[in-house]
């Protein structure tokens, strides 16, 4: 089992996401430290990208703010390396494939090892194109976290069989963002994953309230929350850290209750 999969051993996991570099990398660093302290089991850091096609407006705007504030891949790696002096929880990047490809995949994975990145979620790298970085990830022991969607159906088994870290179950059609209701058959999707794999399944997209997180975690192994946190960053800027702390604590409490 990888470090990422191991993080699910203490009961249902709560996995917060934040776009790195919004409003600054210094604030992101404080956010990550606070998230771990308040109960996050794994932390997803978004590498800001000019054209995040899987994101709704909240995270799109965070990407724009982070890039405008000067966040680069190298600066982000340096920040993560610094974080690793204290933070033990698994950290995974959410990134589009182009930054990895153009930065140089070998160099990227070397830096992941050097700085302590455990896994990658790549929304525009579907199963059929995994070959792009599969070998280099394996050589560097980086988990490639696969996504499954409500449209995946018979693809779920194929994807789950090769899953690493955790399976990111996309709860709804469309892009990231807060939703008042999640109508997909999450239970059915999770069941298909479990038939094919021992890798934990976490549900994301649309979750914002403790009640939603609790319900989604009850059907799976954990809940992922992005837009609701990024929204707080947009609202409170550099003063956001305690707000996110309280939120993470409440969400963790909800998923294990």
């Amino acid at each position: 089992m990888s470090r990422v999969s191991d993080a699910f051993k203490n009961g249902k996991a709560f996995i917060p996401f934040v776009t790195a570099g919004d409003p600054t990398l210094d604030v992101t660093k404080e956010i990550v430290i606070e998230m771990e302290k308040r109960g996050a089991d794994i932390i997803e850091l978004g590498i800001p990208f000019s054209d995040p096609i899987a994101e709704g407006p909240v995270i799109q705007e965070a990407n724009e703010r982070a890039l405008a504030a000067g966040c680069t891949i190298d600066k982000l790696f340096d920040m993560v390396k610094d974080l690793r002096k204290t933070v033990k929880v698994p950290i995974v990047y959410l990134t589009y494939i182009n930054p990895i490809h153009t930065y140089g995949k070998e160099k990227f994975m070397n830096r992941c090892n050097e700085c302590g990145i455990d896994g990658l979620i790549i929304p525009d790298l579907p199963y059929e194109e995994k070959g792009e970085i599969k070998d280099v990830c394996k050589a560097h022991n980086i988990d490639m976290i696969s996504l499954i969607a409500p449209t995946s159906k018979e693809r779920i088994t194929m994807i789950a069989k090769e899953a690493e870290g955790y399976i990111y179950c996309v709860s709804s059609l469309g892009v990231t963002g807060v939703r008042s209701e999640i109508t997909s058959d999450i239970g059915g999707m999770v069941e298909l994953c479990r038939e094919a794999s021992n890798v934990p399944v976490a549900v994301g997209f649309g979750i914002s309230t403790p009640e939603q997180a609790k319900n989604m975690a009850a059907l799976s192994d954990g809940a992922i929350v992005g837009s609701a946190i990024v929204k707080m960053v947009a609202q409170y800027g550099k003063d956001v850290v305690p707000y996110i702390g309280d939120y993470v604590e409440a969400m963790k409490k909800a998923v294990i209750s």
Binding site: S50, Y96, N98, T102, P123, D124, A149, T151, S152, G174
Partner: protein, 394 residues
Amino acid sequence: MSNGRYGQYGGQYVPETLMTAVHEVEAAYEKYKNDPEFQKELAELFAQYSGRPSLLYYAENMTKDLGGAKVYLKREDLNHTGSHKINNAIGQCLLAKKMGKTRVIAETGAGQHGVATATAAAYMGMECEIFMGKEDCERQALNVFRMELLGAKVHPVTSGTQTLKDAVNECMREWTRRVDDTLYVLGSVMGPHPFPMIVRDFQSVISKEIKEQLMEKEGRLPSAVIACVGGGSNAIGAFYNFIDDKEVKLIGCEAAGLGVDNPKNAATIANGSVGIFHGMKSIFCQDSDGQIAPVYSISAGLDYPGIGPEHAHLNEIGRAEYVPVTDQEAVSAFEYLSRVEGIIPAVESAHAVAHARKVIPTMSKDDIVVINISGRGDKDVAAIARYRGVELYE
């Protein structure tokens, strides 16, 4: 399912939510592309609705004026809706209908593909929504109203650079929101497989006709075919049936905006590098972190930071050549063709005319050059006037 490669380029780099949909399009297209009924219906629409074949016109004045190769213009500007975009829009909307889809969505830059899709959707009784960068909506206000007249809903896209690439982003997002009843009618030879293949096949009627028409008029192949390239659909259409005829030079003209050395340009082959974006591996204008560059051209239709994967491949193997053309050269060619031949080309197509003006005088009188006039320039008149410092009210 293949994943559509042209050498190292192409592929299907889309979110998992869309994989089932792209496979569905691929399967449907494989079925219909060899279906005589479908092909008959398409040929009928091309002939009766969009007015094909388009003329291959001998540009005698231009030939005399330039004093080199004999010049022919492939008049895609004479198609219904005024550009080559209708070839693909009719093809894909017909495919959507056969697939049982009731709604189409499309991105547009200059508005030509949006107008063509709105037209085909109106004809076929389908719901249509068009995504267009806010800046492009302002540059091409008439086309926005035209699409609305045709019954389409136009969404101005306010994210990113508010131009073509952002319109593509928004279309992809919209397709993940509503995929069951909707086909994304991609407007160029780009995006995930099978779109570069489908769009190329529907546009390849251009080179098929050029070949037949030139055989009839001159009894031989052209020395060169010149076309403008953004994503590259009119160019691949004009090149495709000549790819195996090695003696025919294929030249794509990219938008160099204020110049290839100025950051304000959109010359992908000249300035780009290999990347993976908008569903495909190809060449993109980007920085060393893989952030897509905010490109610029006077022509909204060429204002795109990438190029179709088949073009990237044709460039890599040396089968086609790609050259940069500046705003200034394109505007001058726009005015030139209007004055010399009485044909006002789209500012996109004017990029091809501009390069032709450079190379034709260096060629022999026995050479024949075909320039693809991919669209008509009515939509650009106000922008050209502004470029020349005249303020027109549309």
